[in-house]
């Protein structure tokens, strides 16, 4: 372990960490926007359920290496667009399934009460269904974010990669173990941090979903 290398390259490590976070956040935000829109579309057109979820499943199943190889001729190497197209397509299956599962898990009696009290369909969606589905939706965001933090390292193969750059370009290509360890530990730490952050977020957003206290 070459500690002096770490000291000399703190700037580089910080830069790569930031890149890692950015690639992840952009992927999850765009992925969520697309998934949310798809979920609402499916809610209004039930027949879309099987085909849309099916396509997102196929996207998820494509090996990431193959997807990059396929995209590079169109969008080029070192282009964040190449990375994001791949990363976003991986989030969609997770996020879409969770949003749909959350909406489907809203109890029937809650929906019947909402209709019976005179909510319009859009009031029912925004004020009842989505808030009640929120714990499941946030759980989806949590899984998607942790997954993408891991996947971002693979984008090192197209010249990006965040902390993956340290693992592949510095560590693997130059047989420099310290860089590999720094990149890996950094990525794991990011994932753990993100995971904890979502747990806190969920508790804050949905105080009602906590297991009942005494009495």
């Amino acid at each position: 372990m070459d500690w002096s290398w770490i000291a000399r390259n703190l700037d580089e490590i910080g830069q790569r960490t930031l890149e890692h976070v950015l690639l992840t956040v952009i992927a999850v935000v765009i992925g969520f926007a697309i998934s949310f829109a798809l979920a609402l579309l499916i809610r209004n057109h039930r027949w879309l359920h099987a085909p849309v979820v099916g396509v997102s499943g196929v996207l998820y199943a494509i090996p990431s290496l193959a997807l990059f190889a396929f995209l590079v001729p169109f969008t080029g190497i070192q282009n964040p667009l190449t990375a994001e197209i791949a990363l976003v397509s991986y989030t969609i299956l997770i996020l879409l399934r969770n949003i749909l599962a959350g909406l489907e898990a809203v109890p029937r009696d809650v929906l019947e009460a909402a209709d019976g009290m005179g909510y319009t369909p859009s009031q029912r969606l925004w004020r009842v269904e989505l808030p009640v589905a929120l714990p499941v939706i946030v759980a989806g965001l949590r899984i998607a974010t942790v997954t993408i933090i891991g996947l971002v390292t693979v984008t090192a193969l197209i010249g990006l990669g965040g902390l993956g750059y340290l693992i592949v370009d510095v560590g693997y290509r130059r047989f420099f173990l310290t860089a590999t360890i720094v990149g890996s530990v950094g990525a794991v730490l990011l994932a753990v941090l993100a995971d904890r952050a979502f747990v806190v977020l969920q508790r804050t957003l949905t105080p009602w979903a906590r297991p009942r206290a005494e009495g």
């Binding site: 009696d109 809650v110 019976g116 929120l134 105080p207 009942r212």
Partner: protein
């Protein structure tokens, strides 16, 4: 409180036919629910009772015929506006888990865009009305409440915007029998104050007899078999179907027409822990029909019986010597339920309590028995009244 009294609800030749089904779910239903009365729709499954109820607030729309509230056709308003003017209570309550109890009760006033201050006052008023202390309950979430408490919140929520009409779909069906009796009694006391017109669905004949001013018995295919007061239906079932549906024990069921408050109560000889045995014995000796004193706590709640044989000698009362298990009934409890509670107890005396479990007096099995020997006259009397009310 100045709640709007109920409005007349009328079904006029209402038929509901679902697509792809030959037989109608509801067939040419005509009935009028007078303002401020509880109309119970009862019948076996598939009789169209829930469908009939849901056509009032247009969760289901009729195929033909019309329904009016206070003379106004329910189709003349947009469905969501209509529903905001009709209270709705369902078996599983359907409280919104993400909203506090206060916000749950405030749902319809918020949809109607009431001012925040008015909503806050109304929420407190309603929680008190259903016996939930606002300071304790307003900011809790539904998952911290018991089934009975949730059901009360459901009723408060339905009453929030002071609707003239309430629809209740098996509202007490998910609670155990003892709590159901208490919730029913509570609701009857509440109804005496608010006087809403209520369409109430149940499959339980006993609940129908207890709750209804009028019962509509429906049979398969949504055909109205009989619509009358409980007393009249028990005295004169209109058809073999009604007779079978009401059951062979019609005589016993008539006991459901009278309530504990209709009996002469016996004043209880109450004692608290620490009183002198001699004093209690002297008080008990003065009451001929009692051989037991009733031990109560500081809140006037019954703890158990003290046999006169345990009162010999001197010294203070020993609370541990009391026989626990005095059955409690409320003034609204039907004599049938009271009898069943009393027969299960060794002392054969029931303790009449108010909504806060405070002892009001005692009733005996004998008093109910006396009542059982003369119920026919009462039923005939009510039958006569109904005859006059019909055109």
């Amino acid at each position: 409180m100045q709640d709007a009294a109920g409005a007349v609800v009328a079904f006029e030749h209402v038929t509901k036919r679902y697509p792809g089904s030959d037989a109608p779910a509801v067939h040419d239903l005509s009935l009028t629910v007078p303002a401020g009365e509880i109309c119970v729709l009862v019948g076996p499954s598939g009789c169209g009772k829930t469908t009939s109820m849901k056509m009032v607030n247009r969760l289901i729309e009729p195929t033909s015929g019309r329904i009016t509230i206070g003379g106004e056709d329910v189709m003349s308003l947009p469905a969501v506006e209509l529903r905001r003017r009709i209270g709705y209570v369902i078996q599983q309550v359907g409280l919104f888990p993400h909203l506090t109890i206060g916000d749950n009760v405030a749902v319809v006033p918020k949809l109607l865009r009431w001012k925040a201050s008015r909503i806050g006052e109304r929420v407190n008023e309603l929680l008190e009305l259903v016996g939930l202390e606002p300071g304790t309950y307003r900011s809790r979430y539904p998952n911290a409440l018991s089934g009975g408490e949730r059901q009360r919140v459901g009723v408060a929520r339905a009453l929030a915007a002071d609707p003239p009409v309430m629809l209740m779909d098996e509202p007490f069906g998910a609670v155990d029998p003892i709590r159901r009796d208490r919730l029913q009694n509570e609701f009857l006391r509440l109804q005496e104050q608010v006087r809403k017109t209520i369409v109430f669905v149940t499959h339980d004949v006993d609940e129908a007899i207890k709750m209804a001013d009028r019962i509509a018995i429906l049979q398969r295919g949504g055909i109205l078999a009989q619509y009358d007061t409980p007393a009249a239906i028990l005295a004169n079932p209109a058809s073999e179907f009604v007779e079978r549906f009401v059951g062979a024990d019609r005589g016993l069921k008539r006991l459901s027409l009278a309530r504990v408050r209709d009996l002469d109560m016996i004043e209880a000889v109450t004692v608290r822990a620490g009183e002198q045995r001699g004093d209690v014995r002297a008080r008990l000796d003065r009451v001929e029909e009692l051989t037991y004193a009733l031990l109560i706590d500081d809140h006037d709640r019954a703890l158990g019986w003290i046999d006169q044989h345990d009162l010999t000698g001197g010294g203070p009362i020993d609370p541990d010597a009391a026989t626990p298990g005095a059955p409690t009934v409320e003034p609204e409890t039907t004599l049938r339920d009271a009898l069943s509670a009393l027969l299960g107890s060794s002392v054969q005396l029931g303790v009449v309590v108010d909504g806060h479990d405070r002892v009001l007096g005692l009733v005996s099995v004998d008093a109910i028995g006396e009542r059982l020997r003369a119920p026919v006259a009462a039923a005939d009397g009510e039958l006569h009244e109904v005859g006059e009310a019909l055109p």
